[in-house]
Amino acid sequence: MALLSKKDTKLILDPLSDDNPITIQVLGICSALAITAELEASIVMAISVMFVLGLGNVVISLLRNIIPSKIRIIVQLIVVAALVIIVDLILKAFAYELSKTLSVFVGLIITNCIIMGRFEAFALANRPWRSFLDGIGNAAGYGLILIIVGFFRELLGSGSLLGFKVLGDPISKTGLYAFGYENNGFMLLSPMALIIVGLIIWVQRSKNKALIEEE
């Protein structure tokens, strides 16, 4: 027996392309703009969201039959905030360096609309295992876009990847810079992230016409 049924696999794979949270559902844009100036930050954010969304979806799914519908949004907020704070405290106690790196992301994770969106749209109506897969899948789809955007912004904006100067040194003019190449400082500002996301949406829709809405 396969570990994942066909339906389960779909839960993970769909958000990577045809049901991507950023490019199709247009959720989680704020953090996609805010922290993608460097590839490393994008990767850290992707992993953190995957952890919180996977776990949060399971918790919400377990509670789905007892959560009063009138206050479900507050309940969701409390679950995600509590999860994030507990993880933050544990990291502070046992992996202090890591917690320093992640501290900036804590606020961004709690307010990430993908998390609330998946709680609301999926976990409240599905079993824990499927909710878990949905969480992992959506976080992966989100992370994929973050990493693509981070890759281009860091490469074109700072001429480096993960901090390594892959295009040469812009100050002492080595590598590409010796031929008059310059970094595009505009890439480091958030508007360019939006434009890159727009380009990804364009490419995706031109490859898969089914995604284009009927007039």
């Binding site: 805010a34 922290i35 993608t36 100036a37 460097e38 930050a41 850290v44 954010m45 039959n65 007892i66 959560i67 009063p68 519908s69 009138k70 206050i71 507050i74 309940v75 409390i78 509590a82 704070i85 507990i86 405290l89 544990i90 502070k92 106690a93 046992f94 202090y96 501290s103 900036v104 992301f105 606020g107 912004r153 860091e154 901090g163 100050i171 002492s172 400082g185 480091l188 500002l189």
Partner: protein, 250 residues
């Protein structure tokens, strides 16, 4: 059936109360049981930061590596020869000065009658004396702070910057080597007047060859964080100028 019940006001109310109690106690319990470890980690971090500023670290090419936590307490007491607390004209020695909460002191000092306690750490390495001061200010989103090591002429010998929540990839880069290392050799004074160090845009000296211009190169896309750095150096290091003057007259 379940769905019907959960719509009732009384159920909603009871659920809310129970949830607050449960989540509250879980958080309180976690925080309480981890508190000791966390404060210990924070203490180590301060020692690591202070040592880092005076150039005692395990840095390799471009990396930022602190002295490891199991050794830091020993190395700290070995290199930091004196910890002083400056309060007006009074200078006292205090072995716990590094635990003074700069943020709290800053807040208290808003009340004019309070005389702020200014911690200063004196370190010795290879015959050279370092004076390390902690400073604190505001970035774009939240607090930023630094430890700046200077010689007796207030020429920077090393600096360590940190922040609570600056934007990753932009303002958060004040914590990178390329930014911090630029401060080494910079002067606080210009023709006998305290100028501080300005984080300047304009890219006029990106290699930072001029060390006496009271300027370092800013980070693109991090204007407000950079301005915050300028402001905290001007406001906080200025407070130590009288002490450095007494060093010279002796």
């Amino acid at each position: 059936m379940m769905g019907k019940n959960t719509d009732k006001n009384s159920y909603t109310f009871i659920f809310a109360v129970i949830m607050v109690l449960v989540v509250g106690s879980i958080l309180a319990f976690t925080a309480q049981s981890l508190k000791e470890r966390i404060t210990e980690n924070e203490r180590f971090e301060k020692q690591q930061n202070i040592l880092y500023a005076m150039g005692i670290n395990d840095n390799e090419d471009g990396s930022i590596t602190f002295i490891s936590t199991d050794k830091v307490a020993d190395i700290f007491s070995q290199y930091i020869t004196k910890q002083l607390v400056i309060q007006g004209d009074k200078v006292t020695e205090d072995d716990m000065a590094y635990l003074i909460d700069v943020r709290r002191e800053k807040k208290l000092a808003k009340n004019k009658s309070y005389q702020r306690r200014l911690p200063l750490f004196v370190g010795k390495k290879e015959g050279k004396t370092f004076y390390i001061v902690p400073i604190r200010g505001k970035g774009l989103w939240d607090a930023i702070w630094a430890y700046v090591a200077m010689d007796e002429n207030m020429v920077v010998q090393g600096a360590f910057f940190d922040h609570k929540a600056e934007t990753p990839g932009l303002g958060a880069n004040i914590k990178q080597r390329f930014f911090m290392d630029d401060f080494i050799g910079e002067h606080m004074f210009s023709n006998g007047i305290f100028k501080g160090i300005t984080v300047a845009k304009g890219n006029n000296d990106p290699l930072n060859r001029r060390k006496d211009d009271n300027r370092v190169d800013a980070i693109a896309g991090a204007t407000i964080t950079g301005d915050g750095v300028t402001a905290m150096i001007k406001s906080d290091i200025r407070l130590y100028v009288p002490y450095f003057k007494t060093l010279k007259s002796n």
